[in-house]
Amino acid sequence: MTEVSPVHTQADNPASPVKAKAIISFEGVTKRFGKTIAVDNVTLQVQEGEFFALLGPSGCGKTTLLRMLAGFEAPSEGRILIDGKDIAALPPNKRPVNMVFQSYAVFPHMKVSDNVAYGLKMDGVAGDEIKTRVEEALDLVKLDGYGARMPDQLSGGQRQRVALARALVKRPRVLLLDEPLSALDAKLRDQMRSELTSLQEKVGITFMMVTHDQDEALAIATRCAVMNRGVLTQVATPADLYEFPNSRFVADFVGSVNMFEGVLEKDEQNEAQVRCPELSAPVYLDHGVTGARGATVWVALRPEKIEMHKRTGEAPKMEDAPPGMNVVGGVIRDIVYLGSETNFEIELEGGRRVKTFRSNLTRYDQEDFTWDEPVWLAWHACSPAVLLS
């Protein structure tokens, strides 16, 4: 709803696959459990071939939305269509979607190959074909040769592969993944991330994933929907979500951010200005904001978009902002060295603390700044996102 910049819109982002046809559409879907509204009037379309992520904190309704698609919950209101057909009347076992459960739900009393063959048997596929397809599926998830094992002889990561093979072997229209990486340890998670991406490219099936982990969503998905308290807050590509959040919730939930409340003092076609009580200088923007003058707005500034300079003499001048704007003074209060980068916490003159990151470009970078050192913080006119809600 809130378009931050008329220049950078989602539509002209080349990564945005909006030209394909909708495979899933939610039309005004609401789900109530007693008095609580889990999903609130969600309208959303997922395109053929996308790797779509539903992102949000726990309890935001993302899993409920996925379970409604799988058929484990029925919407209280609205329609869900797959390939243009309303699937309300179809029970879970008749829907052209398959799910990889968070706990994997691999049947513990069946061999790996029987687990993978289960869905094909239910469909009445012939024995010979089952055998070849099970082998293909195990091959696909790199579990060839594991068919005769029992699930308790497998690691967590291998069990997840069984769950993937078991769902993919049925060649669903959409593969649903419920928090696919949450139960894996950090190393395995990184590996699975890229494997999921390449798997999706290989099989060409639309994937829809639920996750509370924004890193995961940004890394894997081609498009994300952010949900909060049952409401769809923003649907965008990962880059748009991060750089052009449409609300304080999205800006804060996706990535790290410094948020300042302020008043919109100037809003024109090509420039705008916000005065924030916590910042000693006005925030200057090189684009309009489409808000009412005098309205309360929020300036969201990502830590990596803040430059830090030593405070020797005059304040640095940002060439894309009028003098005295987009530059504030402060003192370094905290330094966290993380190897590839260093995180700083700077106390501004008013007492507000601001986060910024610095890549350690040389092996001596971390020695540049020290505790209690006065610094200038500066940012470009195109860096802050101005949020109206």
């Binding site: 799988a70 029970p91 879970p92 076992n93 398959n98 968070q102 289960y118 308790d152 769902a167």
Partner: protein
């Protein structure tokens, strides 16, 4: 706080000794005495000689008594099977009920335990006898059907002949199923309740219907629960005394009734003891079979 009893032997002994003594004095020693009786002979109205004879066992294995053992096994087996068939859907329904309903349903299952078995059995007699509620209900239906047939011009039915529901083997099985159903439902419920729901959802998701899911996923995974339910239904049903005594007819004797007669009316304690121990050996076999199923299931994870 001591974490291991081995470091607090006095405290452990204080807790453990009374129950161990109790079991020893009032269970193991009397059991040993009865076991010794199985090798004894009646030499007077109250005197038993421990002669080391196997005659009691030999007599207990005569066709007459083997027949009663066999019959007890069949009745107990049938009771267990019926309890399983009735109890499984009940346990499934409780496991899937909302938490509030679940608490009420479990209470209803356990409610019969609050009443003495004797009273429950007499109540069952009031339900099943010829002048009982089942027959009253059937008679009402019969008379109405008869009246309806007369109304539409058909030959009315004859007078209602009450069904004989009591004092036969059917009555014994009905009574045993009624008494033992909670023993079956509770372990089944426990097994079904802790089962990972996503396994059933995965089965549905992969294209199986509800019945296929129950058969291919729920039943195999609930096997340990089913085995315990079967065991704790089968064992007391095998040794049932009161139910066949009150609800059964002359041919509905189960082994416990025969044992009772040996100890009381026949005053043949050695023979009664031998029958009792044969029953116990059967029970041990049943427990071993259950342990085998359990172990097999555990090895699977």
């Amino acid at each position: 706080m001591q974490q291991s009893w081995s470091q607090a032997k006095a405290a452990f002994a204080a807790v453990a000794v009374p129950p161990v003594l109790w079991l020893l004095l009032f269970f193991l020693i009397p059991l040993g005495v009865i076991w010794a009786y199985t090798f004894g002979e009646n030499v007077g109205p109250v005197t038993i000689d421990f002669t080391g004879t196997f005659a009691n066992y030999a007599r207990a294995l005569e066709p007459l008594y083997l027949g009663i053992f066999w019959k007890s096994l069949v009745v107990a087996g049938l009771t267990t099977l019926l309890c399983l068939i009735v109890g499984f859907p009940v346990a499934l329904a409780i496991a899937f009920a909302t938490p509030r309903t679940k608490a009420w349903l479990l209470l209803l299952i356990m409610l019969p335990f609050w009443t003495n078995l004797l009273i429950r059995t007499f109540a069952l007699i009031a339900v099943l006898r010829e002048q009982g509620y089942v027959n009253f209900a059937l008679e009402w239906l019969w008379n109405n059907a008869s009246g309806f047939m007369a109304l539409v011009g058909l030959q009315p039915l004859g007078a209602y002949e009450p069904l004989t529901l009591l004092y036969n083997n059917t009555a014994v099985v009905i009574g045993l199923v009624y008494v033992h159903l909670p023993f079956m439902v509770l372990p089944l419920y426990a097994a079904l309740d802790r089962m990972d729901r996503s396994l059933m959802e995965a089965s549905l998701d992969l294209g199986a219907g509800h019945l296929r899911t129950i058969w291919a996923v729920v039943v195999p995974l609930a096997a340990p629960g089913i085995a315990s339910g079967v065991l704790i239904t089968f064992i007391p049903a095998l040794g049932a005394y009161l139910t066949p005594d009150l609800l059964g007819g002359t041919d509905s004797q189960m082994i416990a009734n025969v044992i009772e007669r040996q100890f009381k009316r026949a005053n043949d304690w050695p023979f009664g003891a031998a029958l009792s121990f044969l029953l116990m050996y059967l029970t041990f076999i049943a427990i071993a079979a259950q342990a085998f199923v359990q172990r097999k299931a555990e090895r699977r994870g």
